[in-house]
């Protein structure tokens, strides 16, 4: 026993090495931002256009102020022509540059989205399904996908605005420094305050408010689910009103908590107002002092006094932009937490070629577990299954039946023992074969097969993309789906899945069978095909599944063995009865 455990640790240890420590939010954001690297050129274009637009807005204010001050000295009009042209140029160009910035920014964001998706997908492809065990629930998976898509906003809504405002504001502050250093210091300090200090405040306040609200919101969600789950019963029992009254009380608390956050959320507006006010006032005072001291000309005073208004308008936009930060950081962390997981299986460096069929299976002391810290989820007695024979694996839930299926198709590494694919020429441990080769021979009809949002034909054809419609029809017929397909409005090309006709549990299993038949897999594994089906449907389904796979090597995994005629099984394994109980 002890020696065994030591051996397991060795194999498990190889996977542990790959697991990095989870990155912090800043590191996570940085790594996600770097995914945009291939489109940095386009980002730069957006930044350049954005800086030009912001510069035009600031330039418009500054040159207008200069123009009017200079004009007040009544020089010949000729002296004003440069300023007049400047004012007109800035007036026109701001809109043009802003338009260019928007287009370039969105274009870059879409390109980043494509990169993010392919990067995430490429990683998930290695992890699924064993490395994503807890994502079996559709909600979590949907959130993962939302996170990937949401992170495309990192550049568009956060980094680009900061870069643009940063460059434009720095140049302006530097320019004012040459005229009135005091005004530049005041402007620079207030701008930094708006760009960095206020966001920290407002994000903290929002976080605290969110925590206060989330309690009430959670209660509301629970109470709502409950009232929906029992809606008919409550209604018939005449108890709906009482329940609604309780819900109203929770709603009042939530509304009160939300109203209480109002003071906090106004703080950002108050502080930016004060900061820009201070910049204007201090700029004016410093300008007047410089004028009195004779270090600037009179015409410069208006420029120094009015420019802060325009700069603060540009930088003020950063406060709302910064509010995206916590959400984006959380998304980046969640995503990296998943993508930095170790691969559930290690592919051989140089895979062996497949043996020649027909194929049987040989399992020796097989054990497996979902993650390295867990106890073994599966402990399988030794099994020898000859080609064309059928293996029945039974046992209560939690006895490792689905784990066995995952190990058979190389979705999951075994933690001990071996599975050999027994061909007519030789037998090979499946760990020495490439995963794709193994799955070419051993086809899994999973417990809850996915139906893609496309036509019936395409859903089956994915098993063998070059197959003809006739071949697809033959597979569907063998799975007893012809009558169903004929009843569909557009037959084979009827959309199914999310946006099409919904399939019942039995139909899904049959569709999955049709795929396996079209792929012409010599070994077929059925993982709980009768889950969620009523007794009659289940019995009929199992009979059809077995009839259609006559001649193939079959592994049937189920916790309802009573549905199945016992005569067909060459080997039976009951995982519930503990290790070593093999019957044949």
């Amino acid at each position: 026993m002890n020696a065994d455990r030591g051996g397991e640790r060795l194999t498990a240890g190889t996977t542990v090495v790959h697991a990095p420590s989870p990155p912090g939010p800043a590191a996570a954001l940085w790594r996600v931002a770097l995914i945009g690297r291939p489109v940095f050129g386009r980002m730069l274009l957006a930044v350049a256009a954005g800086v030009a637009a912001a510069g035009a807005a600031i330039g418009l204010t500054a040159t207008s102020a200069w123009l009017i001050s200079r004009a007040a000295e009544r020089p010949p009009v000729l002296y004003l022509m440069v300023a007049v042209t400047g004012v007109r140029f800035f007036g026109v160009s701001r809109g043009v540059f802003r338009y260019a910035e928007r287009l370039a920014g969105h274009d870059a964001a879409f390109r980043v989205l494509a990169k993010l998706r392919s990067r995430a997908y490429a990683r998930l492809e290695h992890l699924a399904p064993a490395g994503l065990a807890e994502f079996r629930s559709g909600d979590l998976l949907a959130r993962l996908v939302e996170d990937v898509d949401g992170l495309a906003d990192l550049w568009l809504r956060l980094l680009l605005p900061y870069l643009i405002a940063g460059v434009a504001a720095s140049v302006t502050v530097a320019a004012i420094w040459f005229a009135v250093p005091g005004a530049a210091v005041a402007l620079g300090a207030t701008l930094l305050f708006v760009a960095f200090v206020i966001p920290i405040f407002t994000i903290k306040i929002a976080h605290r408010a969110e925590r206060r609200i989330s309690g009430a919101r959670g209660e509301l969600a629970a109470a709502t689910l409950e009232i929906l789950a029992g809606a008919s019963e409550l209604l018939v029992a005449g108890a709906t009103e009482t329940r609604l009254a309780a819900l109203t009380a929770i709603d009042r608390r939530l509304a009160a908590a939300e109203a209480r956050t109002s003071a906090g959320s106004g703080l950002g507006a108050l502080l930016s107002g004060l900061a820009s006010g201070a910049a204007i006032w201090l700029g004016l005072v410093a300008g007047i002092a410089a004028l009195r001291a004779g270090s600037i000309e009179g015409v410069t005073l208006a420029v120094v006094a009015l420019t802060p208004i325009a700069v603060h308008e540009v930088v003020g936009g950063l406060v709302p932009a910064s509010q995206h930060l916590p959400g984006l950081a959380a998304m980046a962390e969640r995503l990296l937490d998943i993508t930095s997981r170790p691969d559930p299986v290690t592919e051989p460096a140089i895979p062996d070629p497949l043996p020649v069929g027909p194929y049987g299976l040989r399992c020796r002391g097989l054990r497996a577990r979902y993650s390295s810290g867990d106890p073994d989820a599966l402990q399988l007695p030794d099994i020898d299954l000859r080609p064309g024979e059928r293996l029945l694996v039974t046992g209560p839930s939690g006895s490792g039946k689905s784990t066995f299926a995952a190990v058979l198709v190389r979705f999951l590494e075994s933690s001990g023992g071996s599975v050999e694919l027994v061909g007519s020429d030789r037998s090979v441990d499946i760990r020495r074969l490439s995963g794709d080769d193994v799955r070419r021979v051993i086809c899994l009809c999973a417990q809850d097969p996915h139906v893609f949002d496309t036509s019936v034909a395409e859903n089956v054809r994915l098993a063998r993309p070059d197959s003809t419609d006739e071949q697809v029809e033959v597979a569907l017929a063998a799975a007893q789906l012809t009558a169903w397909v004929d009843s569909l409005p557009e037959g084979l090309s009827t959309p199914v899945g999310e946006h099409g006709a919904r399939l019942s549990g039995g139909q899904r299993q049959r569709l999955s069978l049709a795929r396996a038949l079209l792929a012409d897999a010599p070994v077929v594994v059925f993982d709980e095909p009768t889950e969620h089906l009523d007794e009659e449907t289940a019995t009929a389904l199992v009979a059809d599944l077995l009839a259609a796979t006559t001649g193939r090597t079959v592994v049937m995994i189920t916790h309802r063995p009573e549905l199945i005629d016992s005569a067909t099984w060459a080997v039976r394994v009951d995982l519930g009865a503990g290790i070593g109980s093999e019957a044949s």
């Binding site: 001050s69 009009v77 998976l141 409950e226």
Partner: protein
């Protein structure tokens, strides 16, 4: 409104003070002592502007919280009372998830609507008027420039906005489809890997995203035109004002203070309009959330997936005709009842007919999927039949169709044990009292004993979704609940499934005696022989299917 006016006046005051300070320091050679009051006043005005911004935000939040609360409660009341009408379609996990999301986070997009859009809309109406009026006292020519250009902005926005609104909508739909595609592929990863197709999807994913980018950029080029027109009109007119003022200054038509005043003030007239444009997206999201709520409330197909599924069924129109308050001794007659299952070529039940008399137990049998639970939904008024009728014949010889009885009134006469009774968090006693809140402790204990739950302490608590009770116990709590309710009809949907033989016997004996002693008309859906044995009659119903099982 008052805040909007204050904002406008403060903007005018700021411009005036700033112009005065600059012009007197520049041309008048004033020093700090001379400008003391002006600078002090400017500081006060700048501070006040910040204060007004704070007040605006707070008021917006409060409004938003109040509106959200009101919408939320309307929504929840509606789904709790109305949507069982459509065969309980809202009770699927997904649909109820949507309602929960809408009631909690979904409405949060209204914050932006109230916080950013509405205040700006108010400002956009008031500020330009005040500014123009003030400018008119200083410089008529500049005022004219502003008067002519300000209306251009909403005009352009409306013009270009209406041209792009459909495209933009199509773009959002495309985006939703794109996300759907990504999710579809990721969800199907295990299946794709089984068939060695997962790597092939990688290229396709990039291609689809890129196609979408090209398509969207074409739309965006047009959509951003409205923002472009807006910016152009705003900045160009400021430039025109500045140049005009400059030239008139040279001619000596106006003085520097007026010139600066007009220059500082002109952008203030456009600012709220520009911010309104920027907040437009926020408003759209807010309106979208609100319209989803209204969609559910009104049951329109545009209201999102929830109600679009809902309208797939037939809603029961509230026809509240004469209330029949005395139904004791009445019998229920079901004739030719047929219900088409939504979205399927299946009638289940198909032409079911039976009569239930007081004191009698009628069992309905038939394989699963023939519509036994659907039949019950119709009897309860939760669903409408496509053909056939359900009527109540009272002892005084009247016959009333159940859809003509007020539903709340009808429910007073019915007790129902659903297939999976729902247990609410709270004590066992509270759960049993669901339909009879005034029942005494003794009565609760008695009814618990009647369903073989005497060992269950009425004051013990049940967790969420009935955790802490076994499924058999939950079922018996459901029966206890129905027995405690004082009705004339008792409807039980597989009340003893999953019970051991002893419990089953106790429960069935209680049902039997309730029928006899309290003269109840009992409808029993059952499979098991023991349950069928207590029935006076067994009626078999059937479905008619045009599709394979």
């Amino acid at each position: 409104m008052a805040l909007g006016l204050t904002t406008a006046l403060l903007a005018v005051a700021q411009a005036w003070l700033l112009a005065t300070a600059v012009s007197s320091a520049f041309l008048g050679g004033a020093d700090f002592t001379a400008l003391r009051l002006t600078l002090l006043a400017l500081a006060v005005v700048l501070g006040a502007r910040a204060g007004v911004a704070w007040a605006q935000e707070s008021v917006a939040r409060r409004c938003s919280a109040a509106v959200k609360s009101s919408l939320r409660m309307q929504l929840l009341r509606h789904v709790a009372t109305q949507l069982p009408d459509v065969g309980g379609s809202l009770q699927s996990d997904r649909a109820s998830g949507e309602v929960v999301a809408l009631a909690t986070r979904g409405l949060d997009s209204l914050d932006a609507y109230f916080g950013r859009y509405l205040p700006q809309a108010v400002l956009a109406m008031i500020v330009p008027l005040v500014v123009i009026a003030t400018m008119a006292t200083a410089d008529l020519v500049a005022t004219l420039t502003v008067v002519l250009t300000v209306p251009l902005i909403p005009f352009f926005m409306a013009l270009i906005g209406s041209a792009t609104v459909r495209r933009r909508k199509r773009r959002w739909e495309a985006l939703a489809r794109l996300s759907g595609h990504f999710l579809d592929v990721v969800s199907g990863l295990p299946t794709l890997r089984v068939f060695g197709r997962s790597e092939a999807q990688l290229g396709r994913l990039e291609r689809v995203t890129d196609d979408y980018r090209q398509e969207s950029m074409a739309t965006l080029r047009v959509a951003f035109l409205s923002a472009f027109a807006l910016e152009l009109a705003a900045t160009l007119s400021v430039a025109l004002v500045a140049v005009g003022v400059g030239l008139r200054l040279v001619d000596g038509q106006i003085d520097l203070r007026t010139g600066l005043f007009v220059l500082i003030l002109a952008p203030e007239a456009y600012l709220p309009l520009r911010q309104l444009g920027a907040g437009f997206h926020a408003s759209e999201e807010g309106m979208e959330a609100a319209s989803r709520v209204f969609g559910i409330l009104e049951g329109t197909p545009d209201g999102g997936p929830v109600s679009s599924r809902a309208t797939g069924n037939h809603e029961v129109e509230p026809t509240h005709s004469p209330v029949t308050s005395d139904l004791s001794g009445a019998e229920m007659r079901i004739e030719g009842l047929t219900v088409r299952q939504p979205g399927r070529a299946l009638d289940a039940p198909f032409e079911a007919s039976l009569v239930i008399r007081p004191g009698e137990i009628v069992a309905i049998a038939g394989p699963s999927g023939v519509g036994k639970s659907t039949l019950i939904d119709v009897l309860l008024g939760l669903r409408r039949a496509d053909a056939g009728s359900v009527s109540i014949a009272t002892t005084d010889g009247r016959t009333v169709a159940i859809e003509d009885i007020d539903r709340v009134e009808w429910h007073r006469h019915v007790a129902w044990v659903p297939q999976h009774p729902y247990c609410f968090p709270g004590t066992v006693a509270e759960n049993v009292r669901l339909g009879a809140p005034d029942a005494s402790d003794t009565a609760v204990r008695a009814v618990l004993a009647a369903v073989d739950l005497a060992e269950l302490d009425p004051s013990s608590s049940i967790g969420e979704a009935g955790s802490g009770l076994s499924s058999g116990q939950r079922r018996r709590v459901g029966v206890a609940r129905a027995l405690l309710r004082n009705g004339d009809f008792l409807i039980l949907d597989e009340p003893t499934a999953g019970l051991d033989a002893a419990s089953e016997e106790t429960v069935l004996a209680s049902v039997r005696s309730a029928a006899r002693d309290r003269h109840l008309a009992v409808l029993l859906v059952a499979h098991r022989p023991a349950a069928l044995a207590i029935a006076d009659r067994v009626v078999t119903i059937a479905a008619r299917s045009e599709e394979p099982a």
